[in-house]
Subunit: 171 residues, 2 copies
Amino acid sequence: MAEADSETVDLEIIVQGAQEGKKQELRLWLRMLSTTKLVSQEVRRRLRAEFGATLPQFDLMAQLYREGDGLRLGELSKRTMVTNGNVTGLVERLEADGMVLRVTPDGDRRVTVAKLTPKGEKLFGTMAAAHEGWLRDMMADVDPAVIAELWKDIGEVKTSVSNHLSGVDFD
Amino acid sequence: MAEADSETVDLEIIVQGAQEGKKQELRLWLRMLSTTKLVSQEVRRRLRAEFGATLPQFDLMAQLYREGDGLRLGELSKRTMVTNGNVTGLVERLEADGMVLRVTPDGDRRVTVAKLTPKGEKLFGTMAAAHEGWLRDMMADVDPAVIAELWKDIGEVKTSVSNHLSGVDFD
């Protein structure tokens, strides 16, 4: 994670002056981006403080928790924001801690999947409940009706963005 | 950037089943996060395709554009999502391309600041206009009134989150 964590200045404040006269789509984007960064930083801080865990570890465990039969490392990389190279290191670390197991599923000896151990499942359950509570706390001052409206409206933005992707894979 | 870019699966879809019965704050957060990632990926793709530039380069130039007198590298790191170590490499690369200049301001010979060259300013102006246009395009299907409402409501979320940070710097 190449982020300058806690000392990061609020991006939206920095561009404040530059925002005058700017199109409202840009202003909305800067606000969304800075809010997302703020929440991510707080989640990262709490994961570290309360569980000694990193956000990539949490994301990876979340995917394995969803897929009881396990996932191949390439699939894990796609489903998280973690590159292929880093997934291997993360899985090895979690394996050493007894949270993850690598197994060869029946029928295909060439394949290896990672899955949570019972210990890993238990820990993730605790972390996920805490994570949900942190979000509830962070949004405590927002009216529930506003939260419901936001969920719907951001859904509209997401659909629009999906409809207007350049569609070209430049990689 | 440790992101698995174009092949990344939609995070919100992955957790869909797990969302039932979940608190609406968590659902909103997952939607915000996945939308932000979708837009960031598209911006990254277009920067690369149209300008051969990366998102960290764009962010860094944006900060220098705002500060005509230049910024110290440490300050640049704080204002972007780029770590101290990576800022140096980025600045050197932009300097080699004639976009950035490192200078010693009058009065303090121990300090070096980076600033945009006229060529860098011109390029950034073009990029910023394109960036604004991409966002307008991406949100084209959303009613302007919804965009205005979103800007206000996300502002409420941001204020609430700011008020409920753990306040402890665990770094």
